[in-house]
Symmetry: C2
Subunit: 284 residues, 2 copies
């Protein structure tokens, strides 16, 4: 059985490495629009062979689509047009509604499984890939009733090999919730980085000297690349605007308490925020 991976970056690369540790799949074939990534993927043992997209589609029993979400939206219909009726295709995009919506009436819709393994880090490319990236993390499967049972089984098998736990929801729910859990933290982090970089423009020395570990963790996500994140923000635009507005509302509450010297309110605000401690956090 051939496994075809389209997009050999962090996610596609880690799936390749993870699956190759098991006995799932005989041959791994891949493609990437970035030649350097493709070369690295061969060197790192992510895939056995780099072949053109068209050939990959014809030769694979399972296709993993791990490219930015705008790319997924663009090529998924074409891939569905061309696959055999027993091929399974799954994507790993961070938004799901637009992707599912685009192919909702395709005659081969049931061969597709919409998945989101929640495991991104700020680094990218096949050199950041590792077989343990998904260990004990969550994988969301969306609109599962629209996929064929055998296709769902293959997706579950793949993610289970990598020790992921499966969660099910609609693509609409996914995009709303993930806007708060993952996409908003990225905007928060990009904006904080922009703020301090602007404030310390031409003050490199002071900035480097004072940088503490607090700013480090809050700006970790600000290192994430636009090629991945701009398409996510575009695809999840409405939910993002809602999430950002809700966040600015909370920030303004804090700000106004500070302006009005309502220090008791700030005390309550911090105590409330501290409850994040009690929440279960995925183990890296």
């Amino acid at each position: 059985m051939n496994i075809g991976i389209i997009g050999l970056g962090l996610i596609g690369g880690s799936i390749g490495l993870g699956l190759r540790k098991s006995n799932f799949g005989d041959k791994f074939i891949g493609t990437d629009s970035n030649k350097e990534n493709a070369l690295h993927a061969i060197k790192l043992g992510i895939v056995d062979e780099i072949i053109p997209l068209q050939d990959l589609i014809m030769q694979s029993s399972v296709i993993v689509l791990s490219i930015p979400v705008d790319g997924i939206e663009k090529i998924l219909t074409n891939i569905l047009n061309e696959i055999r009726m027993d091929t399974v295709i799954l994507d790993t995009g961070s938004t799901k509604y637009d992707i599912c919506n685009r192919i909702s009436s395709h005659p081969k819709r049931s061969r597709f499984v919409a998945t989101h393994p929640i495991a991104g880090i700020e680094n990218s490319g096949p050199i950041s890939a590792n077989s343990g990236l998904f260990y004990k993390k969550q994988c969301i499967i969306c609109d599962s009733e629209l996929s064929a049972p055998d296709a769902i089984s293959v997706a579950i098998k793949i993610y289970s090999i990598m020790n992921m736990r499966m969660i099910y929801m609609t693509s609409k729910e996914h995009d709303l919730y993930i806007a708060y859990i993952s996409h908003l933290p990225h905007v928060v982090s990009f904006s904080l980085a922009s703020t301090v970089l602007k404030k310390f423009k031409n003050k490199d020395n002071i900035f480097n000297n004072m940088m503490g570990s607090g700013l480090d963790s809050t700006t970790r996500l600000a290192k994430s690349k636009p090629e991945t994140w701009l398409p996510i923000f575009i695809s999840n635009r409405k939910n993002m605007i809602q999430a950002i507005d809700f966040y600015i509302h909370h920030l303004n509450k804090f700000r106004n308490h500070l302006i009005d010297k309502k220090f008791n309110k700030i005390n309550q605000y911090i105590k409330k925020a501290n409850e994040i401690k009690d929440k279960k956090i995925c183990v890296n």
Copy 2:
């Protein structure tokens, strides 16, 4: 030579443990308004003995004042009133201007050294203390020209033992810059935690299931306790309001680009934020 530590929490405790690894100081004495902290400090070997504040002040050659900044402002004048002319006292507070201002005309001002070792983590108390907390991090010494040369030497000696690098600036500069580097990231994190906790109220299951490592790092600081942070926000209120407003301005830029579908502008925004990669980060 007796070293007296007032406040045996994370910072005071780590200084105790760090100094005791060297041959600096003969006996370590401590005091803490929290009896449990005091007991832990003895058990953990942070100090040899817990004694009343008055006795500590009289018996110490060096006093380290590691309590919340409102506490420092409250008791520093009294301590200066009572110390011998050769005692050195240093504080570790996260704001410096109000503290320095409060004692600016004290006849024993020169015995005091205003310091800020930048090494806080979200955990607190003596059980989180460790001798390596300050390793290769920065310590800011403020208004050093107002301290006696021998007092400055003692402070440098203490922080050098723990492998810190010294930086010098005025207390006014310190409070402005630290508002952006440390205090703003805390507000950002408290507000993000508040936002997601509110959004997922009564949706614990979804929240726990979806929580990824992105939200984890951006809300790490939201676990910091109000006893430490409320006094910091009060003391650095004006700079904080400026920093929060500057941050909201940057957030709104992003939001408006998203509303206006100026995706090219968002691309530039992310690329600009990515420059945080090139900045030197303190190693934990």
